[in-house]
């Protein structure tokens, strides 16, 4: 237990600094983009935003940046942290337990801050007078409660973190060879998907599926569990080379 | 100084350093000998190796242990070392000199003469 605590402290050594910088930058982007709108009106479309033509959201575009954050977070967790930890006598098991714990902390922080920002924009949009995009497929900030949106984002980010976590591990183990394999697999999958005849009923099933909140949350959790488990399978037998 | 390229073990060299100190009078009877750790630090050797050298001298009755204080020079240590070195001189050094003299065809009489000359014709 002592060893695990040390690992967790180690993994979160830079947490405040890196998450602080991250949100500072993201917030700044949101503020800059919205202030352009405030000054010049909706025609001034500068900075990151999501829009369906008539409705716009600035904080909604954070989802993409958060996605990139997770990819980097997952890569560094292994590329730097695991390398250091293995050099300093940490067991793979402890490291992995700590990594999952740290992932959950980060997911919790990101999802709650992002939900808060989405809801703050409801006020700023009214003040600045632009039509706010509130429909994000999985949730709708005008009809869903703060808590529900937070839970949905938490599960979504957790699934995302589990996937990028696995990518981080595979990249640590196989380096650039992993990316070659990843690219090849992706091409094969996309090609076979493109070869399939477009079936409108299938799309309908998918949409229907996504609209069922409970099923969606369950799927997210299963994906997270699956990928985190898969990750341990690979890290268990990983050695530290150069 | 210690000579790592010597064919003598380091601990033997450690013992010889102390013996020499005693012979030269730098280290007197009942005085404290350098500790294992002092040796380790000054000569950068493993403390256990230094300890082995000191213990060897203790076994020979040149040093003795005072509990908790360290090693001290035993009474009569100098005498003992002199005797030991004399024996060594007579048994090894001198025969070696004589063997070399034989090879160089120097007679014993010549050697004796030369020694007298060196010592000022005593």
């Amino acid at each position: 237990m002592e060893a695990l605590k040390r690992v967790i402290r180690f993994q979160n050594y830079n947490l405040v600094k890196s998450l602080g910088t991250f949100w500072l930058v993201v917030l700044l982007l949101n503020i800059i983009a919205s202030s352009f709108v405030a000054v010049r009106g909706m025609s001034a479309q500068i900075g990151p935003m999501v829009s369906d033509g008539s409705y716009t959201s600035f904080t909604g575009s954070n989802l993409l940046i958060i996605f990139i954050f997770f990819i980097i977070y997952g890569a560094l967790m292994y590329h730097e942290d695991l390398a250091m930890a293995l050099s300093c006598g940490v067991t793979r098991k402890d490291f992995y337990k700590g990594a999952i714990f740290s992932n959950i902390i980060v997911v919790l922080l990101l999802s709650s801050v992002q939900t808060t920002l989405l809801f703050i924009e409801k006020i700023t949009a009214r003040l600045l007078g632009y039509p706010l995009l509130t429909e994000f497929g999985m949730f709708n900030t005008s009809t869903d409660s703060y808590f529900l949106v937070a839970v949905i984002l938490f599960v979504l980010f957790l699934a995302l973190a589990a996937i990028t976590n696995l990518i981080g591990i595979l990249q640590f183990r196989w380096g650039y060879k992993f990316w070659i394999g990843f690219g090849v697999t992706l091409v094969i999958i996309l090609n076979s998907a493109a070869a399939q005849p477009k079936d409108s009923s299938r799309v309908a099933i998918l949409l229907n599926y996504l609209s069922n909140i409970n099923l969606m949350l369950l799927t997210g959790l299963v994906v997270a569990l699956m990928f985190f488990t898969l990750g341990y399978f690979f890290i268990r037998k990983t050695g530290l080379s150069k | 100084m210690l000579d790592p390229s010597s064919d003598k073990s380091i601990y033997v060299q450690v013992a010889e350093i102390i013996e020499n100190e005693i012979l030269l009078g730098n280290l007197k009877e009942e005085e404290q000998a350098p500790s294992t750790n002092q040796f380790a630090k000054v000569y950068q050797i493993n403390p256990a190796t230094a300890g082995k050298g000191l213990n060897m001298l203790a076994d020979e009755g040149i040093l003795y242990k005072k509990r908790g204080l360290g090693m001290f020079v035993r009474e009569g240590a100098k005498e003992k070392i002199i005797k030991k070195r004399q024996a060594l001189f007579l048994k090894e050094t001198l025969p070696e000199v004589l063997r070399e003299a034989d090879r160089l065809e120097i007679t014993v009489a010549e050697i004796v003469d030369y020694i007298k000359e060196l010592r000022g014709g005593v």
Binding site: E2, A3, L4, R6, V7, R9, F10, Y13, H79, E80, A83, M84, A85, L86, S87, C88, G89, V90, T91, R92, K93, D94, K237, G239, L240, K242 | L2, P4, S5, S6, D7, K8, S9, I10, Y11, N37, A40, K41, Y43, Q44, I45, N46, P47, A48, T49, K52
Partner: protein, 291 residues
């Protein structure tokens, strides 16, 4: 303290270590010697579980070390850091090491940084090779681990810094006795630090011996071949030279009083092999040289 049995390791088809068996006692300084590529680093990395072994056991006070934090938190290996950490500042590395090492001594780390005059604000990649080595040495010393291992600790260091390290090591060893393993292929300076040496050669432990008995067990015999041969027939010959009609043979192993007497009587010269020569011969394997 540390006991290794039937340890095997290979990289792909290349065998690196074959059936290593070792038992180390606590609070001694061990020298792990062997030529480049003899498997020294691999052995150390296996002890810290950074690498996976093919078979065998490594136990620390009876406990298998692999994936065992209770054992691993008592072991540290001071070794060149993985390249992915080279963009970190020295002080960050120390901070992280301080979080991970159970027995880390922060004050002692600060003392060492001053002693070595290290600029900790620089990134590792911006430090000279010697200073990068110093970072690693400080990590090893300040880890205060019960089993502290140094892999090639003098890489890129100039003489004065090397001696500083030897001094600091001995000083700390006196105050905080622990088991220390130093791997090196440069034996000249460090030989006297060791209490015991382990020599790796041809994937195996070629020798493991108390430094002080090493000398007493190794001899040069020099004289006519026909006189020497009957004695060395059963001995382990580690060196052979021919010098005119005289043969010089280095053997490893005790000589009985009778054997010594016989040799002396035959006019064969007998002398001990200096440590450094001995290491060279033993790490070279049974290569025979002639002048």
């Amino acid at each position: 303290m540390l006991s290794i049995s039937n340890l095997n390791k290979s990289y792909g088809r290349t065998k690196v270590l074959t059936d290593i068996n070792l038992d180390l006692t606590a609070n001694k300084i061990y020298g792990l010697l062997g030529r480049n590529g003899a498997g020294k680093t691999t052995l150390l990395k296996l002890i810290t579980s950074q690498l996976l072994r093919n078979s065998g056991e490594i136990r620390l006070d009876g406990e298998e070390v692999f994936e065992n934090s209770r054992a691993l938190e008592r072991i540290s290996l001071a070794k060149e850091l993985p390249s992915s950490l080279k963009e970190k500042k020295a002080r960050e590395i120390f901070a992280l090491a301080g979080l991970l090492y159970k027995d880390w001594d922060e004050e002692y780390k600060d003392y060492l940084v001053r002693e070595f005059n290290l600029n900790t604000k620089k990134k590792l990649s911006k430090l000279s090779t010697g200073n990068q080595t110093i970072v690693v040495l400080i990590m090893g010393l300040a880890s205060r681990s019960g089993l502290t291992m140094f892999d090639e600790p003098t890489l890129g260091l100039d003489a004065s810094v090397r001696y500083k390290f030897y001094n600091l090591l001995l000083e700390d060893y006196e105050k905080h006795p622990r088991t220390i393993i130093i791997s090196t292929h440069l034996i000249d300076e460090v030989a006297n630090l060791f209490e015991e040496v382990i020599i790796l050669s041809d994937q195996q432990v070629a020798l493991r011996e108390d430094v002080n008995t090493l000398l007493e067990k190794s001899f040069y015999l020099s004289g006519r071949e026909d006189l020497i041969n009957p004695i060395i027939k059963e001995k382990r010959i580690i060196h052979r030279e021919t010098f005119g009609a005289t043969k010089i043979v280095g053997i490893y192993g005790y000589l009985t009083a009778e054997e010594k007497q016989y040799l002396k009587a035959q006019g064969v010269e007998l002398s001990n092999i200096p440590l450094q020569k001995l290491f060279v011969y033993l790490t070279e394997g049974n290569k025979e040289g002639a002048i």
